[in-house]
Structures are given as C-alpha cells and as structure tokens.
C-alpha cells in the first residue's frame, strides 16, 4: 500500500497532505492541527462516539476521527460555531455524569477538564442528571469510579487492541449505558487486568485510576497546568500523568 500521495485536504484554509487510509483526524494530528477530541487516541481503532471532533466537510457534518481523508476536502474546524457546538457537547458530558473537579484526584490531568478550559466552558449550563453509578474498588491496585465515566470506550479498545485482553465493555442503553467488566462477578478483581496495562492508564477522566498514587504530583504541576490540550504531541504526555509530567 502506498503510504503517501501528492493529494491534500484543507482545514480552516490550511492545505495539508494526507496518507492513503488516513482519517481527517490522523492527517490533522500529523500536521500539528488540534481538533478537540476525547474518545480518540492514535493507535486505537477510531470510535466516533464523543462527537467533539465534529467538523464540517464541504458543508456536511462529519466526525474527523472516523471520516476518511479524501483529496480536495474543504474542512471547517476551528470556527466559532463549531467550538460552540463542542463546548455544548462538553457541558452535556459534564452534566450527564457526576464530575466534581475540585475533589477529583484526576484534576489537572483530566482531558475532559482540559477540553472544557480549552473551549472556555465556565459552567455545566444544563441541569445535572445526578445519576447513581457504582464504584468498583474490588481490585487491589485499580479503582473504577463510574461517576466520572464518559463512555469513550478507550479502555475497552486499549484492553482488546493493545493489552491483548478483554477486560471492559459498555453495557446497557441510552443514558443507562455504563462501563462494565468482563467477569462473571462483574468485578475488576476477577479479571486479568494489571497496572502496566494500557487500559489501566488510558482513561481520559478519573473513572479508572491507579490506587495509592493520588496527589503524588501537586496541583499546579500537573499535565494541563503545564501544557495545553491543543499542544502538538501532547498524547504521550497525557499518558505519563501521575509521574513526572513536567520532565
């Protein structure tokens, strides 16, 4: 398969090249163009569920993480209208769950929070849903706090595609959809997940966290205290959270 061609797409007036088989998101990331996203992580199969990366392609709506790049596409992304849409979607994610940033140990390392700041989100705007969701603290080193889950399925895919396991899934329907664990007990302790697994670290929010490491990095020196979520090459930095983010 040829990995390059001479064809280009145009994002917000900037013409960028793309490789055969790339999505708009892939091409944008390669060109250091940030399109806000939560359920996408390079290297994992695109999901297209959070819809934060929604763009207008030749006047039609598309998710840049799943839409194949094709020559000549005229794409609008960083526009006032689209950023307003993205802010609203981020607010929807906030009110749907139970997110209390000040008391969450993921604060400062949380991509949802960072995207909120990036989009100038000042409040949840909509009435809170206050769902009742279960915590799973059964595992010795990893905890699931479903209050914070945004159903991005990054952990589901990381476990299957990278870790070679199948620890997580999304169950249920509509607003009752929730993260579930692939074990007869439904508990994390009864799975083969390990703390070195990508699935244990990939959560963009504080829904899956490693126990006994909270607050090792003080607030003020965390990932998004030092970096913008829109910074090129930020993905590995986000994954290193809880370690030495500023090194």
């Amino acid at each position: 398969m040829s990995d390059s061609n001479n064809e280009t797409i145009t994002i917000d007036g900037r013409e960028i090249p793309f490789k055969a088989g790339q999505t708009i998101m892939d091409a944008a990331l390669d060109a250091d163009i940030y399109i806000p996203h939560l359920c996408h992580r390079p290297g994992l199969k695109p999901h297209g569920s959070c819809k934060l990366c929604t763009v207008d392609v030749d006047g039609r709506t598309g998710s840049s993480c799943t839409l194949p790049a094709t020559a000549g596409q005229q794409i609008s992304s960083n526009t006032e209208d689209l950023n307003e849409v993205r802010k609203t979607i981020t607010q929807m994610l906030f009110v749907e769950g139970n997110h209390f940033c000040p008391s969450c140990e993921k604060t400062g390392d949380c991509t949802l929070q960072a995207v909120g700041y990036h989009l100038d989100m000042l409040d949840g705007h909509f009435p809170q849903f206050y769902p009742r969701r279960e915590v799973d603290a059964s595992h010795a080193s990893i905890i699931i706090d479903r209050d914070r889950c945004i159903l991005c399925a990054l952990c589901v895919r990381a476990s299957r595609e990278v870790d070679g396991k199948n620890v997580f899934d999304i169950g249920g329907r509509g607003t009752d959809a929730r993260l579930i664990v692939n074990a007869p007990s439904g508990k994390l302790v009864d799975t083969d997940i390990e703390t070195d697994d990508l699935a244990a670290h990939i959560c963009p929010v504080g829904a899956i966290i490693i126990k006994e490491h909270g607050y090792e990095v003080p607030i003020g020196r965390r990932t998004f205290d030092l970096h913008s979520v829109a910074e090129p090459g930020i993905e590995p930095v986000i994954l290193r959270k809880g370690k030495h983010t500023d090194e």
């Binding site: 297209g48 819809k51 929604t54 998710s63 169950g171 329907r173 509509g174 959809a177 007869p184």
Partner: protein, 595 residues
C-alpha cells in the same frame, strides 16, 4: 476469561442446513436469552457464565446485551408479564393504570405473589386496532374496560393463556385500499422463474429500471444497492430482510408478513440469485413474535417446493436458505448497521459508515439490507416488469407506497397509494375530519398542519416509511410531541453524546413546558439543543429525533406559548420531587411529608 474480543466463530454449517426445520438458530444469543427468560421469568445472574461458556462469548457481551434490549429483565417478572403500548396510536396508559389498580400493583413492578407484572413498551404495531398490549409476548388488541376486567379475572384465576378467549389475540390486516402490491396476485416461484429465464444481468437491470427505492424511508435505489453488493468482493454475500418495524404508527410490514410472506421471501431469494448470496435472514421485531409460526410454515412450504434450499428450481449452483432472527425490543435495530450488530449477538449500536453494509455488512461481508415492502415489491417487479411498476407514481418516486394510517379517523388500516397522492385525498379516504395535524413518516418524519394538506406523498416532497398518524382538533398536540420525545430518549442507543444526552435534555425540557413550568428561555434552549442533536448525532435516530419539536416550533408555536409562564427563568429543580428519596427512606407519604 475470554480473550478474543472480536466476533465469535461463524455460524456452523450444521445449524444452517435445511434440516433446521424451525428456521431459527436456537443458539443465537437473543433466542437463548428469550428461552431462559421464558423459563425463569427473568435472566438470572447465575445463568450468564454458563451461557457464556456454552456460546463461546465473553460474559460482558451477554451482560451488555441483556441490559440493551427492553424485553430482557434482570429481576423476576410475573407469570403474566404484561406490557401496554405507550404509542399515541395503539397505546392507552390510562388503561394500564386501570389494570394496575384492579390487580393491586404499581406500573413497572412485579406483584409479591409473582403472578403478574405490568409495564409499558414502545409502539407494538397495532395502531389500527388498539389499544393493545403484549402478555408473555402475545398480542391482545382492541382493549376495552370490559376486556380489562376479564383479563384481571383470568390472571387472578391463574388461567393459562391458551385458555383465554382466542378472539382476544386476533390481529386483523385491515387493508382498506388495495394498490399495486396488495392487489396483485402472487404465484410462489413466479419471480424466480422469471429471474432464471431472463438471467441475472437482465433482471438486475430490470429492478434498476423500475426505479424502486427503499421503502424503509431513506429511499436508496434498490437496483443500485443490489448492484454494489453483487460487485463487492467477499467470502460470502448476505441478504437481510429488515422486519424490525419499530417506527410508532407503522404496521404495514405486519400485513405483508401475515398475508404476503411468499412475495417477501421470494424478493429475498431473487436478491440472493442476483448478488450471489447463499444465506438470508429475516430480522423480526419481538413485538411480532406471534407471526413466527406462520412465517416458519411458509419457509417450510418453500423448501418443499424447491424454492429454498439446494439447487432452487433445479438450477445448479443456486443454493439459498432463509433463517429468522427475532429481536428483543430495540427501535434502533431498525437502523441497518445496528440490525447487523444485533444479528451478530451484540448491542444494536449503529456502525461507523463508510464502509456501508453492501461492502462490509453481516460478518463484515457484502450484505443487502432491505425493508419488507421493498422486497415484496422487487418480487412483483421481477414477475411483471419494470414498466408495470413505474407506470405508477411520480417523477422521482416510482410505484406505490403502503401507508399505515392511524389516529383520529373513521377507518384506520393499511392503504396503498401510487406516489404523488395528496395528503387531503388520503384524509378523505380514511374519513378524517377537523384534522389538526398529521405526523407523516412517524415521529422521525414530518409534522404538518392543514395548510400543507395539498402536499404530495413521495421522496421529492413528503417521504415516509409508512406511518401516517392523524391528530384531530381535540387532540393535545403538545402531549403528542412530548410522547415522541420520551420515545426517542428511551430508544437512543447511548453511543454518541449528542443523541444520548441530547434526547434526554429535550425530553426534560418538554416535560417542564408540559407541566406548566416552562419559560421562553426553555423554548430557546430546546431549539438550540434540537438543532445540535439533529446535526451532530451519529445516526438517523439522533438526526431525526428532534424533528417533531422543530416542526412543532415552526408550525404550531402557539402550543408552546400557551403553556409558558411569563418570567425570565424558572428552575428545573423541583423541591417536592427532590424530597421523594427522603420520603421513601422514612416510609412516609402523608401530607406533612409534601410541600
């Protein structure tokens, strides 16, 4: 622990052979869960690991499916498990509450003695003969206060369903107006003979030239779809009949499956012949489970007549078999890629497209998914030719459309019209007077008022999958819109943020306005959210869910204005409702415990 996250092995040949005389794969996850629930009145937790081992599926895949489909339950249901339709046409929740009172039970609960449980369900497709309910999956139509009394008596007497009066379970076709399809006699095998005689290329050209477009509502050219699938490379090709007729107000497929099943199955077989498929599936909505025996009998008959199986009509290399898969209560499975996911024993989550099913569908192989009516029409076109078909209809909409007419009219039922017919003509035929509004194409379609009754039915003007709901002058239209908003919030699959959260926000916003607490601010907010959900959702469900609200805001703004309180802002927060949890904890419900 199951390591393989991907698909289970392909269905084995033995399960698929013509020896399988019930034409159902008994090992399909949805069928196994149905069997377990029939025995235990729910899916017991302990049954899941054993089922996972037996079916070689991850436990989480079974867990996720149980909670996805409305007809599966985690806690025991009654020996008589009753679901009242909550559709504006075939539902009557007042009757549900009345039966609950008679049987001393609350909606959604199971009585302590395990005798009965009562809840509601999305439209069950009986809109021409409602109010209707399902009891243990069987349909009872034409409910009346008298019938409810008797049902309560039968339940208290613990009388088995087969001892209940058989006429309660009658479902009538109610065909009020025959057209091209419903009136044409069909000789089983005739479309196949014509296809074999003309050859594949010619017959495909014939279907294409007929101008037939998908009858599910989207209207994609059937000839093109078949052609794309035929040209797509794969290990196998599949043809699927989408009989998951879930759009509220639609019941025309019920009639085709009841009285025209041969032409539906023959349409599938013609398609198989043209695209090179050896296997076909009919995905039947669970609400139509009562049709299963008659559909199975037709399939058996077709086998015996060499119209299915190996070497169909003696044609060497023409092998094709049809199996039925029964759903479990999920409107989203009417979306073709969600339907395929459901067939693959997963939650019905619409796939990312491209690739389209014609290239990568069932088991990632080239797949045609067609509506019941499309396939029946294709069979007739194969017999009578493309000219016969496109001599009827309008420029861009060839042929005819079967409508499911319900609501405020004298004679609800199935009406078949050539495309291009005016709405007013339809209203005259079914005896609808003083009409306030019509929902054309069901909740996901278009809401129109009297000044638009000269508009025409067709893809170029008012497209429809068949639902035609009439609301008379005395109908509380805002309540109807509210009902639709509840429907979509309930049926949203939950995959994408705009639809999952947005349909719930829209539902809550409408509830607030209906309850007389809404302000102009709430209307503006709803308009903004509706636009976002419509534009940014992943699939057709989200993209159409806000339509009734947007249509009503545009055409019937007074519905909202009359209900608004005239202040700038009213909180969503309801203090009395917030105290409900405290009341339950303290076991109080007296006046002092309320504000």
């Amino acid at each position: 622990m199951e390591l393989n996250s991907g698909l289970k092995k392909q269905p084995t040949a033995s399960l698929m052979s013509s020896e399988n005389r019930d034409h159902l794969n008994g090992n399909h996850l949805l069928h196994r869960l149905y069997d377990i629930q029939r025995q235990s009145h729910h899916i017991p937790q302990h049954a899941i690991p054993a089922l996972a081992t037996e079916l070689e599926l991850p436990v989480s895949q079974i867990e996720s499916a149980i909670d996805f489909y409305s007809f599966f339950h985690r806690t025991p249901r009654g020996r008589f498990d009753i679901m009242f339709s909550n559709c504006t046409s075939c539902g009557d929740l007042g009757m549900m509450r009345s039966l609950c009172d008679k049987l001393n039970i609350a909606p959604g609960e199971t009585r302590a003695d395990g005798a009965v449980s009562i809840s509601d369900a999305s439209c069950i497709g009986m809109c021409d003969q409602g109010p209707a309910l399902l009891v243990n999956g069987r349909t009872i139509t034409k409910l009346s206060p008298r019938r409810l009394d008797l049902i309560a008596e039968h339940i208290e007497a613990n009388r088995a369903l087969d001892q209940w009066p058989v006429e309660w379970f009658d479902v009538h076709d109610n065909v009020r107006k025959n057209g091209l399809l419903l009136s044409a006699p069909f000789e089983p095998g005739s479309a196949l003979l014509a296809s074999i005689k003309q050859g594949q290329e010619n017959m495909l050209a014939n279907i294409d030239q007929s101008g037939l477009r998908g009858r599910g509502g989207a209207g994609f050219s059937t000839g093109m779809k078949w052609k794309f699938c035929r040209e797509a490379k794969g290990d196998a090709h599949y043809v699927i009949c989408n009989a998951d007729e879930g759009e509220p107000g639609t019941f025309k497929d019920r009639i085709l499956l009841t009285s025209h099943a041969h032409s539906v199955f023959e349409g599938m077989t013609v398609c198989a012949y043209l695209i090179g498929a050896q296997k076909g599936y009919l995905y039947l909505r669970a609400e139509y489970r009562y049709l299963l025996p008659s559909l199975q009998a037709v399939l058996t008959h077709r086998h015996n007549s060499k119209l299915l199986g190996e070497e169909i009509l003696g044609q060497h290399g023409f092998d094709f078999d049809i199996e039925i898969i029964v759903g479990a209560g999920a409107y989203i499975c009417g979306e073709e890629s969600a339907l395929i996911e459901s067939m693959e024993e997963k939650r019905g989550i619409p796939r990312v497209r491209p690739p389209f099913p014609v290239v990568s569908g069932y088991l990632n192989q080239p797949t045609v998914v067609n509506n019941v009516e499309t396939l029946a029409a294709a069979a007739q076109i194969a017999v009578h030719g493309s000219d016969w078909f496109n001599a009827h209809g309008s420029d861009k909409s060839a042929g005819s459309k079967i409508l499911s007419i319900s609501g405020d009219c004298l004679t609800p039922g199935a009406y078949e019209y050539a495309f291009g017919v005016s709405i007013q003509r339809i209203l005259d035929d079914c005896g609808a007077e003083d009409v306030q509004a019509i929902q054309v194409g069901g909740p996901s379609g278009t809401l129109i008022g009297p000044d638009e009754f000269e508009r025409k039915l067709g893809f170029e003007d008012l497209a429809t999958g068949g639902s035609f709901m009439i609301f008379g002058k005395d109908c509380d239209l805002l309540k109807v819109i509210c009902n639709f908003a509840h429907f979509f919030a309930h049926e949203s699959c939950g995959f994408c943020t705009p639809c999952r959260v947005g349909t719930t926000l829209l539902r809550n916003g409408l509830d607030k306005i209906c309850n007389g607490k809404g302000t102009q601010y709430d209307v503006d907010e709803m308009r903004r959210m509706a636009a976002l959900v419509k534009r940014r959702s992943h699939c057709g469900l989200g993209q159409t869910a806000p339509s009734p609200i947007l249509d009503a805001l545009e055409r019937f703004p007074e519905l909202f204005n009359e209900k608004l309180v005239h202040s700038d802002f009213e909180p969503h927060f309801d203090l009395d409702a917030a105290l409900e949890e405290a009341r339950q904890l303290t076991n109080r419900d007296d006046a002092e415990a309320h504000l």
